[in-house]
């Protein structure tokens, strides 16, 4: 059995979430129905909504369930004609408009705040969208400062928080954000569910029309099985109020990085000087393409990834590293992202295999 170290792509489903989903899987569950089954469905739905709301500190009616992070981002991005976005956004944001104004990041992967402000003045844009944390490097953006700038110019501010959710504390209400996209399958819930968190529910136009579910924001009978799983996964993270799990993951990830750096002088870890998600390392190895690294490690029983793979499975070179001025490394870097199911030795084992691979290809 392979060791899974690709939590930023998707995570295993938590046992507790699976159990609850199995409970819902069976009875007829349409929460719009008037009868007792419908009422039962509604109560599951609202419980999940409150669990998700609690995790991000939002009100119940600020949570709109969607089919995932991509849909939540698209609902917002379609509202602007020329949004201002960071150069390291996920494709869910990048592909949403042909008329993006890109804001550079520095070599640590942090948004250039001066350029952000200058571009606002220059372009008369009506929206800013910056991801809370980057999926490839784990670098955390200075959201407080970014939101402050947006407020100063009275510009709508959206955040793709898909990768940050569950890994660092997110407080929607006190953040000042207008909207935020999150996803279930990165935190131990199932795929196919996400949510858009909206400060003012009147801000958004629905992109899926029909029966008017989710207060008219997102029609279609709710994916209750998925939503219930999302709720349980969210509640498990809220329960760990001291962030014991993530802190532990962070300690091991740091040890892993230090061990690699001690043994291999010319590797590089991106965003090293920035605040990063505790579970994410983006590592450059000279002389071996990322796809060869990923395949070789897969054959040795480690699931890691290179950049963001598109649906056909072919690996694109990383636009994130290019934006960080590290185009030279874009084809040679892999991402190791650990999670709650990893045990103490998993990263240690990977480190040994990685070092072997390095030695083999850097003879």
């Amino acid at each position: 059995m392979s060791i899974y170290l690709d939590y930023n792509a998707t995570s295993p489903i938590r046992d507790e979430a699976k159990e609850k989903m199995l409970e819902v899987m069976g009875p007829p569950i349409n929460s719009s129905s008037v009868h007792s089954f419908g009422r039962k469905a509604k109560s599951y739905l609202q419980k999940a909504r409150s669990e998700v709301a609690k995790l991000v500190n939002a009100d119940l009616d600020q949570v709109i369930f969607t089919s995932g992070g991509t849909e939540a981002n698209s609902m917002i991005m379609q509202l602007s004609n020329s949004p201002l976005v960071s150069a390291i956004e996920h494709d869910a944001v990048m592909a949403s408009s042909n008329n993006l104004n890109l804001i550079n990041v520095n070599s640590d992967g942090i948004v250039d705040l001066e350029m952000l402000e200058a571009t606002i003045k220059k372009t008369n844009t009506d929206m800013i969208s910056v991801m809370w944390a980057n999926n490839e490097t784990g670098v955390i953006q200075p959201m407080t400062e970014i939101i402050k700038i947006a407020k100063k110019y009275k510009i709508y501010i959206h955040c793709d928080a898909v990768q940050a959710l569950g890994k660092i504390d997110l407080d929607f209400k006190s953040s000042g954000l207008n909207s935020m996209a999150i996803s279930s399958h990165k935190i131990g819930g199932p795929v196919g569910v996400g949510a858009l968190i909206l400060k003012d529910p009147f801000d958004v136009n629905p992109i899926i029309l029909g029966g008017g579910q989710e207060k008219g924001h997102r029609s279609g009978t709710e994916n209750l099985i998925g939503i219930v799983g999302f709720g349980v996964a969210a509640s498990l993270i809220s329960k760990d109020s001291k962030n014991y799990v993530m802190r532990n993951i962070g300690v091991r990830q740091k040890q892993f990085e230090d061990y690699l750096k001690d043994n291999l002088k010319d590797i590089k870890i991106f965003g090293e000087n920035a605040k990063r998600l505790p579970n994410t390392s983006c590592i450059y190895m000279p002389n071996l393409n990322a796809d060869a690294q990923v395949i070789a490690l897969d054959l040795e029983g480690f699931a890691v990834s290179a950049g963001s793979a598109c649906s056909s499975g072919k690996v694109k070179s990383s636009h994130v590293l290019k934006a960080m001025g590290a185009e030279w490394a874009a084809n040679n870097s892999i991402r190791v992202s650990s999670g709650w199911q990893n045990n103490k030795n998993d990263l240690e084992k990977l480190a040994h295999s990685y070092i072997e691979l390095y030695k083999r290809s850097n003879k």
């Binding site: 060869a292 070789a296 054959l299 056909s312 499975g313 072919k314 694109k316």
Partner: protein, 390 residues
């Protein structure tokens, strides 16, 4: 003591790691199937080489997308790890661009050889080594023979399927590492194995065309790749008289007879005319009688010798196109180039094609070969044809 396994390693197949280049076709699927059956540690790799939709600019029935899926499904069926590598930009730089440029230079290129030379046996080769594999296996119909003078490349047993013409550029280092399990089989046997293993692709037809020119209209592809660089010009008889117009020299190949599109002559006369030369500088297609196709000197460049040394015997056999016969010739070396003197004049030799050289004493043994730069003949000299200008 262990016997050598069928890939020639002195150990148990399960301890022999082999990468199989899987295209999604029957041949490479059977290659993988046979090796799995023998118990080898098999890894399947499929190369994404081009965007099929871009190649034909429409949605079609059979496409690279579905070939990749076929390879994936076969690998699944065989329960082996399988990966898709994105070599689109390498393939564009090293194969497709060369293909277009060669046509524009009035030549008739063979992209399959370039692909074997570069993408498959350089890049994929490197990947297989990086994965610590002991060998790279393909579904080519050629044989790797361990002879007394080292490893030799021999023709596939099935003369219909033999692919040695496309593999003449294989270097000694590459051949050491490569394996061709189908080389000793004929096509019927391969199909039978596909049937026996019940491979999902068992009924898939063989591919006929150049992979990125799926409908066989290579000139359309060149026009799309190099818009604006293709100009109409004259079709001229050997003596200089203009017989008609063409829409671009890329539509013509030396030796071509049909579809010349000469308006001014009767069908009967056109039947007797052949493309005997393509003058790139004048943008002219030269036509003439069949005799004018005869050449008695062929200049070759970029020679590859499978065992790394120039053959001792200057009498050799040569194949000048894939479907051509073996022709006796003498070979003379000048620096890094070689001139061939066929025993009898040969016709229809196109610059850009490969000249593949076989051992005169063992016509299965591929010694190597090179690319045809130019040709010469008495008649060519008489009419000052450009092919004679080496």
């Amino acid at each position: 003591m262990l016997k050598n396994n069928i890939l020639g390693f002195n150990r148990d197949p399960k301890d022999t790691k082999v990468v199989v280049a899987m295209s999604g076709g029957v041949d490479s699927s059977v290659t993988a199937g046979l090796l799995v059956e023998e118990g080898f540690d098999v890894i399947g790799i499929t190369l994404q080489l081009y965007d099929y939709g871009m190649a034909i600019q429409k949605k079609g029935a059979c496409c690279a997308g579905s070939d990749i899926n076929d390879a994936r499904e076969v690998a699944n069926q065989l329960n082996i790890p399988h990966y898709v590598l994105d070599y689109e930009s390498k393939f564009r730089d090293q194969v497709i661009d060369d293909f277009a440029d060669e046509y524009l230079a009035g030549k008739t290129p063979i992209p399959c050889v370039r692909c074997n030379q570069t993408v498959k046996f350089t890049d994929l080769f490197k990947m297989a080594k990086n994965l610590n594999a002991d060998a790279l296996a393909t579904g080519h119909y050629v044989q790797r023979v361990v002879g007394k003078n080292g490893i030799e490349l021999h023709r596939g047993v099935d003369p219909e399927k033999d692919q040695s013409y496309f593999l003449f550029a294989t270097t000694k280092d590459q051949l050491e590492y490569l394996r061709f399990p189908l080389g000793s089989l004929n096509k019927i046997e391969t199909r039978k194995i596909a049937e026996r293993l019940n491979l999902k692709v068992k009924n898939k037809p063989d591919s006929q065309d150049i992979c990125f020119v799926p409908n066989g209209k290579y000139s359309d592809v060149v026009r799309r790749l190099r818009p604006g660089s293709i100009e109409p010009g004259n079709i001229t008889y050997l003596d200089g008289s203009i017989l008609g117009r063409h829409n671009g020299i890329i539509d013509y190949t030396i030796g071509q007879r049909r579809g010349l599109g000469i308006g001014g002559v009767s069908d009967l006369e056109e039947e007797r005319l052949y493309v005997v030369d393509i003058k790139v500088q004048d943008n002219e297609v030269i036509v003439g009688p069949k005799e004018a196709l005869n050449v008695d000197e062929i200049l070759l460049k970029e020679m590859n010798w499978v065992n790394n040394s120039f053959p001792s015997d200057k009498k050799i056999l040569v194949k000048l196109r894939n479907t051509g016969k073996l022709i006796p010739a003498e070979m003379i070396k000048m620096n890094d180039r070689v001139t061939l003197y066929p025993t009898k004049p040969v016709e229809g030799v196109s610059p850009g094609q490969a000249a593949v050289i076989f051992d005169a004493n063992d016509e299965n043994n591929v010694l190597g070969g090179g690319w045809i730069v130019s040709t010469a003949s008495k008649l060519q000299k008489k009419y000052n044809l450009s092919s004679s200008a080496a």
